[in-house]
């Protein structure tokens, strides 16, 4: 069979890093081809080159036997390449039809387009209302918009970058059915993911990237997930395990916490209640946009609630601002590293001061002890193996994994009674992720209560002692994590078992 897409010796360098180094790859018509690799392995650069967003330094691409040099996404789409982005390339303030029109080269008038959207969405089982604002749609519906937008261009190659990271297990099943239909019709799919079980279920072949190079191929139907993971990482991965301590006294209790949505596209928290005991790791699972950020903000103190809605060691804390909660031992680490958990342009010393001021005594009578702050930053760097030239390096110069280790380490070294983290290993390489998970279970075993909010269900099943699902701003009753199946979790995430 002649390959649909053939890439030969593609190289792309950025200042300081070679993102793609002599990458070669073939995609056959109608196959589902997985692209595997850790963060920073070069997957995104490669697909951006295919989609005309990045011009390679050298190397050739051919599409259906003809040279393929897309100068822009317009050219790529015209040649029959469609792309579904990891971070949706959608506009919340525009309608579904407008969003679709923007992804097409020569869209018909909006009224005809609306009809075609309905046709295509019916054909592939992707129900959509063209007139709705995208900002009002759920994550799953938004992805449908992206897919329908691609399908209207009748692509021969569909590139999907981490498409399932925002979907519930049931939505994933529906997506796979659609992709199966497309593949049967002859559309090739280049599928990027790090969820290896999904790849085993969906893909025909896999190419593995590591540090910009192709390091091998895999047969997803035959090879084990563990073997593929180790090929991605280039070594063995230590296995994490849940915390082993016997649960102690209740440290953090949330009682009927309700908060309105912070903005037009935010999520309201509805009647959220849970308890966490010393020695426990409570895992809170959920699909993005179901109230994770809002829950963290309510616990960190960025948003206040009635005093009795948040109880810290039995004392009322809902009305307290972040510094007062930190003094009580309630610490937290938000999802967004750059700009929320850390200030990008500020040095690690300054970022250490950010949350460490109170518990580490870094401020006296309004004056900062920079010496103390530097010492604290150095402790975090050494204690958590943060790779950085110095304490005076700006946060944004660190890689995602190193900065995340710094952020989590900064809180853990303050000796928290309760630690709440959101997406602690998002976008982090495997070794850093396993170090962070280990640190969290160690913290719990040391007598702290830990709350891990995460969209990565595998992660939660690894380290959580109890599990609860967050859906539409409501939290399900927490259940023991041992023995939970993905199916059961899927039902909880869908809200079927919400308390």
């Amino acid at each position: 069979m002649t390959p649909l897409l053939q890439i030969d010796g593609l190289t792309k360098a950025y200042p300081g890093v070679v993102a793609n180094d002599d990458v070669s790859l073939t995609v056959l018509p109608g196959e589902v081809h997985a692209l595997l690799g850790e963060n920073g392995a070069g997957k995104s650069t490669l697909v951006k080159a295919i989609y005309g967003l990045v011009a390679p330094d050298s190397g050739t691409m051919t599409l259906e036997g003809r040279p393929f040099v897309p100068a822009s996404p317009h050219a790529a789409r015209a040649a029959g390449v469609g792309m579904v982005f990891q971070h949706f390339s959608l506009w919340g303030a525009l309608s579904v039809a407008e969003n679709v029109a923007l992804g097409m080269e020569d869209p018909p008038p909006l009224r005809d387009l609306a009809r075609r959207i309905r046709d295509v969405s019916a054909e592939y089982g992707l129900p959509l209302d063209p007139a709705r604002l995208v900002g009002d749609l759920s994550a799953g519906e938004r992805q449908r918009v992206e897919i329908v937008r691609c399908l209207l261009g009748r692509p021969r190659l569909l590139v999907m970058d981490e498409p399932t990271s925002v979907l519930t297990p049931q939505e994933v099943d529906a997506l796979f059915a659609t992709l199966g239909k497309l593949s049967a019709e002859g559309t090739a799919i280049l599928y990027i993911s790090h969820k290896l079980e999904e790849i085993r279920a969906l893909c025909d072949r896999a190419t593995i990237l590591r540090r910009g190079r192709v390091v091998g191929t895999a047969d997803p139907k035959a090879d084990s997930a563990r073997a593929m993971a180790e090929a991605m990482v280039g070594g063995t991965i230590p296995e994490a395990r849940p915390a082993q301590a016997a649960p102690g006294a209740v440290r953090l209790e949330v009682r009927a916490l309700s908060l309105p949505a912070p903005d037009a596209f935010g999520t309201a928290l509805r009647d959220v209640s849970f308890q966490v005991r010393a020695g426990e790791v409570l895992g809170i699972g959920g699909v993005a946009g179901n109230g994770q950020d809002e829950l963290l903000a309510a616990l960190s103190g960025e948003r206040r609630s009635p005093p009795g809605a948040v109880l810290m060691d039995g004392g009322q804390a809902g009305h307290l601002p972040p510094p007062a909660r930190r003094r009580l031992g309630l610490l937290s680490a938000p999802e967004e590293r750059l700009g929320h958990a850390a200030a990008p342009a500020m040095t690690l010393t300054e970022n250490a001061l950010m949350t460490g001021a109170a518990r580490r005594g870094l401020v006296r009578r309004g004056l900062v002890s920079w010496k103390g702050a530097r010492r604290f930053a150095r402790e975090v760097i050494e204690g958590f193996d943060v790779r950085t030239p110095s304490t005076e390096t700006p946060a944004r110069a660190l890689s995602g994994g190193n900065l995340q280790k710094f952020v989590i380490g900064r809180e853990i070294l303050q000796d928290p009674q309760v630690l709440v983290v959101n997406q602690p290993t998002w976008g982090v390489d495997a070794s850093a992720a396993s170090a962070i998970r280990r640190a969290l279970t160690d913290l719990a075993e040391g007598g702290a209560a830990v709350v891990v909010i995460s969209q990565d269900l595998d992660e939660l099943l690894e380290i959580a002692t109890r599990f609860a699902a967050l859906a539409g701003g409501r939290l399900s009753t927490a259940v023991p994590a041992a023995g939970l199946t993905l199916d059961r979790i899927g039902l909880m995430l869908g809200g079927a078992e919400a308390a």
Binding site: W91, L102, A264
Partner: protein, 309 residues
């Protein structure tokens, strides 16, 4: 446009005239902000247009040449803003302020020999029998060309933004520049074009002040009209129709206080002079209170765009 007698015809006429510069400048800034750029230099572009317009009109004797150069003057300053903010990634707020400070000085320099010199002015279209409608006719249908140009511009901006593909792309750039870039749209080029349009409209607005409304030059004569135009964009919720309403509202308030001054009502003249600014502030407050849950501002307004590698 001196207002002397207290009758409705004259009042309506003056509302149309007084609101025209607000409308032109606000429509320009509306397009700029829809593209995700906050240009606080409206006042500077406007007064540069005012100076360029009157100088050229007096020198050539042609008010239309004056209007053309007024637009070019505003556009030129707009391009400086575009170069700094889009090319050199400077802070939009600071650059806009710089535009205003520079424009106030530059315009005074440009028009220094023309203070108080009367400008040649323009006529209007002959709308025939419409002019003879009682009260409304002389007020609404006997105005100059630019008044009608402003109304057409409001319609044109609406059609462009909501009925053309180019307008859709411009809105997409303003609502999410990363998504627009990812789909292959040229964020910077779109923004530069929008800024240029905004500059030309502000320049026209300034030209209208010196060529029709006053019509002569004094230093600093825009007196905050550019800032009020910025407020009108907020008031109008970034929609052309409501911006038109806003321009009429502010033009009405301005026309009313001028009439009250002229009628020598027993209120301190300073209180009347400051009233347009106070009204603007009051309206801004009312809007912000009403929109607590997040406004209709374009999502990327004022945010710098840097293409991810």
């Amino acid at each position: 446009m001196p207002v002397i007698d207290l009758n409705w015809t004259a009042f309506l006429a003056s509302v149309l005239v007084v609101s025209t510069p607000f409308l032109l400048a606000a429509l320009g800034e509306l397009v700029v902000e829809r593209a995700g750029v906050l240009n606080l230099g409206v006042e500077g572009m406007m007064i540069t247009g005012a100076a360029a317009g009157i100088v050229v009109a007096i020198e050539t004797g042609s008010p239309w040449a004056g209007f053309l150069c007024a637009a070019l003057g505003g556009l030129g300053l707009g391009l400086v803003f575009a170069l700094l903010t889009q090319g050199l990634q400077s802070n939009q707020v600071a650059t806009g302020l710089g535009l205003t400070l520079f424009g106030l000085g530059f315009s005074a320099l440009l028009a220094q020999g023309y203070v108080g010199v009367p400008a040649p002015t323009i006529g209007g279209p002959d709308l025939g029998p419409l002019r003879d409608v009682p009260i409304l006719g002389p007020a609404l249908f006997a105005r100059d060309w630019v008044v009608y140009l402003g109304l057409l511009a409001a319609l044109g901006v609406w059609l462009y933004l909501f009925r053309t593909r180019s307008g859709l792309i411009l809105r997409a750039v303003g609502e999410g520049h990363d998504a627009a870039h990812a789909l292959g749209y040229r964020v910077r080029a779109t923004r530069v074009a929008a800024i240029a349009f905004g500059g030309a409209m502000a320049g026209l607005a300034g030209g209208y002040l010196t060529l029709v409304r006053v019509p002569s030059w004094t230093d600093g004569m825009t007196a905050g009209a550019g800032w009020i135009a910025l407020a009108i964009v907020v008031f109008g919720g970034w929609r052309p129709g409501r911006v038109l309403l806003g321009a009429w509202l502010f033009g009405g308030a301005q026309a009313l206080q001028l009439r009250l001054q002229a009628a020598q009502v027993p209120v301190p003249v300073e209180l009347l002079s400051m009233s347009p600014y106070l009204i603007t502030i009051a309206v801004l407050v009312a809007i912000s209170v009403r929109r607590r849950a997040g406004g209709a501002a374009p999502a990327c307004l004022g945010q710098p765009f840097r293409a991810g590698a």
